[in-house]
């Protein structure tokens, strides 16, 4: 893996955004040859999205020939609910860029047959030629997407019950009322993300430090599902100083080079 350590959140966001931007530009996407991007939600990637929007506004980056696949979506939340991941992606990203709405794929948590929806999502990724770059985050419990502790490391897109840690972490978006937080979600599997040609995980903040330690300094373990990426040929972990707080000094020094 690569471990890229930036000083703070803003610099980490900018580094990640530049990396994505350069990847797209180098790929030279065009009609019939799209760049496929996997995308996360949550607090961590907001800075990265802001930077990508800035590059687009400056005329440096177009999403015209980019296809996106989001990692997850809550089950049972109306699509126009302010906390749905559809709302998140519209407000924080899609409405500011020139992506074709036909190319922005997000799982539908209100589909009549949820497993069929998940299977169809896997097929769409396949039809798009697989994911060129999957961007993700890490939960405080070390999960990638909603692959909670105990998820199979070869899992595919499916319905998952959310862990208590996740529900507690999400409560702040639902007025602190635990009863309002969705308990289930559709999520890409660990295996789905592992299929991507390249993976970039964004990890910022001291509260994620322990999860980062478990993910890269301990073994591959289904209790810390991000650890699966130790076995991916091209993974980059982008973090800020605070996120490295639980790592060994030796690890940090090595990657700071």
């Amino acid at each position: 893996m690569r471990l890229v350590i930036l000083e703070d959140y803003d610099q980490a966001s900018e580094w990640a955004a530049k990396y994505i931007c350069n990847r797209i530009i180098q790929f030279k996407p065009s009609q019939g040859r799209y760049f496929t991007l996997g995308l996360p939600t949550g607090n961590t990637p907001l800075g990265c999205y802001r930077k990508l929007i800035e590059y687009h506004r400056n005329g440096d980056l177009s999403f015209k020939y980019v296809k996106t696949f989001n990692m997850d979506e809550y089950v049972g939340l109306p699509r126009n609910h302010p906390e749905s991941y559809h709302s998140y992606m519209w407000n924080n990203f899609f409405k500011h860029i020139d992506i074709d709405p036909n190319n922005a794929h997000i799982l539908d948590g209100n589909a009549p047959d949820l497993q069929a929806e998940c299977d169809a999502f896997e097929k769409k990724i396949e039809a798009a030629g697989g994911i060129d770059l999957f961007v993700g985050g890490i939960g405080p419990d070390g999960h990638i997407a909603f692959n909670e502790p105990g998820s199979s490391l070869s899992s595919r897109t499916r319905l998952k019950t959310l862990a208590m840690d996740t529900i507690l972490a999400n409560a702040k978006y639902f007025d602190g009322d635990l009863s309002k937080v969705p308990t289930m979600a559709l999520t890409v599997g660990v295996g789905t993300v592992m299929d991507a040609r390249e993976v970039m995980i964004l990890i910022t903040g001291a509260h994620k430090a322990f999860a980062l330690y478990k993910a890269i300094e301990e073994g591959v373990n289904h209790m810390w599902t991000v650890s699966a990426f130790q076995q991916h040929p091209r993974t980059i972990f982008v973090c800020d100083e605070d996120a490295t707080l639980e790592l060994r000094v030796k690890t940090v020094k090595y990657f700071k080079g």
Binding site: H86, K95, D100, P101, N102, A104
Partner: protein, 410 residues
């Protein structure tokens, strides 16, 4: 890019780089989307229809606000709505076209106290209609009088005043001839049998306004209980506020307003009709009820001099408009955008508040806020582009540009 809209093929326009008045705030970073004359929800368009804009217009950081609604305007540009002329229709067309430049996208042509013959001739010529390039939309007539108080007639001709003591609502109907296109009626609630009349008008969806009256507060409150919801030009042509009987003015803070209802009040903020301190007192007492009106007369938009206001002759000198030879105020020559600017200056309120008194509040008064007076999704796309000083740069009705300030500022 190819668009694949499942609901409609009509072109979608996206107004970008603007500040939109929505949810009582000027929102930056939000664009205004319009399709088929209505405000479109772009998120729904993106996810449900996989659609995108056909045309993008850069608004150069303009303020975008809902079009103004004038519920009391007696005429303008030489046209007097209370005169039954042969070319009445072209007169109303002229005014509706000219007020687009003042930011007015909907209005209620107002008739002052007139003889029944005038109502019988004029009212059938007023039709409720949508606005467009031809002019602002007509929401219905505002009949101010003749069922008003002699003591507070103001500029209204005394010989045309009437009561409905004998036949109540039937008298009113006989006087006006028809109520088909009437939106508002101003009357004095202390008149005998007014309660019946107010109930009957309210039942027909007509807004009842209290004005030109010597009613005390309890008479006014009773009128509100029977259905009255508006006060015609607060302070003018009514008893002054008194601390032991606030009169109609007391409705602003009355505790006898039925639950779920709001009393609105019109104010002419032209700097003449109301002292700014009085404007501020009213606004602070009941900010959500304030509705800006122009009460403009035929002389508005013309040079100073003599003009008519129904049966009366009016003299205009600058911003002052008096019954000829007297000091009795009679209407104004203010334009709606001037009123909005003056209101904002006099009260020091936010731009959002000032704009809402001329758009959201009149729409709420008339019960049409689901389609007018806001920039909410699915509302009629009647809106204005304004600069920071609240000068109208362009007027749009149903998503079409119907007026634009030209480069020379004329």
């Amino acid at each position: 890019m190819p668009s694949n809209k499942s609901v409609s093929d009509a072109p979608i326009v996206q107004f970008t780089n603007c500040r939109i008045l929505r949810s009582h705030q000027l929102q930056r970073g939000e664009d205004l989307w319009v399709r088929e004359g209505k405000i479109l929800n772009p998120e729904k368009l993106f996810f449900d229809e996989k659609g995108s804009a056909d045309i993008q217009l850069d608004c150069k950081d303009s303020i975008i606000a809902p079009g103004f609604i004038d519920v009391q305007i007696n005429g303008g540009f030489g046209v007097d709505f209370s005169l039954a002329t042969d070319d009445f229709k072209s007169g109303i067309d002229l005014v509706s076209q000219k007020i687009l430049s003042h930011g007015v996208t909907s209005f209620c042509p107002t008739l002052v106290t007139s003889p029944p013959s005038v109502y019988h001739q004029v009212l059938p010529q007023i039709s409720i209609r949508n606005g467009g390039a031809h002019g602002a939309g007509i929401l219905g007539a505002h009949l101010e009088g003749p069922f008003i108080s002699k003591e507070k007639k103001g500029a209204h001709p005394e010989h045309c005043l009437r009561t409905f003591e004998a036949g109540a609502f039937q008298d009113l109907l006989a006087t006006y001839g028809s109520l088909d296109c009437v939106q508002i009626v101003t009357l004095a609630p202390e008149m005998k049998r007014s309660s019946e009349v107010i109930r009957e008008l309210t039942k027909r969806g007509i807004c009842v306004s209290l004005g030109h009256s010597v009613a005390n507060l309890s008479q006014a409150e009773e009128a509100v209980q029977h259905g009255a919801t508006f006060i015609t030009h607060l302070f003018n042509a009514m008893l002054p506020f008194h601390h032991r009987d606030p009169g109609i003015v007391g409705l602003l803070t009355s505790d006898k307003i039925p639950a779920g209802r709001r009393v609105f009040y019109g104010m002419i903020s032209d700097g003449i009709h109301t002292n700014p301190a009085a404007l501020r007192i009213a606004h602070r007492a009941h900010p959500k009820g304030l509705v800006l009106v122009t009460d403009a007369i035929a002389g508005m938009g013309l040079a100073p001099g003599r003009h008519t206001l129904g049966q009366q002759v009016v003299e205009i000198d600058g911003l002052n408009t008096y019954i000829a030879g007297t000091k009795t105020l009679s209407g104004s020559v203010a334009t709606m955008d001037t009123c909005v600017r003056h209101f904002q200056e006099a009260t020091g309120c936010s731009v959002e508040t000032a704009l809402e008194t001329a758009s959201l509040h009149p729409a709420q008064l008339l019960g049409i806020e689901h389609k007018k007076g806001t920039l909410n999704y699915d509302s009629d796309a009647d809106f204005l582009m304004l600069n920071d000083s609240l000068y109208v740069q362009a007027t749009y009705i149903a998503g079409e540009e119907v007026w634009r300030q030209d480069a020379l500022g004329m």
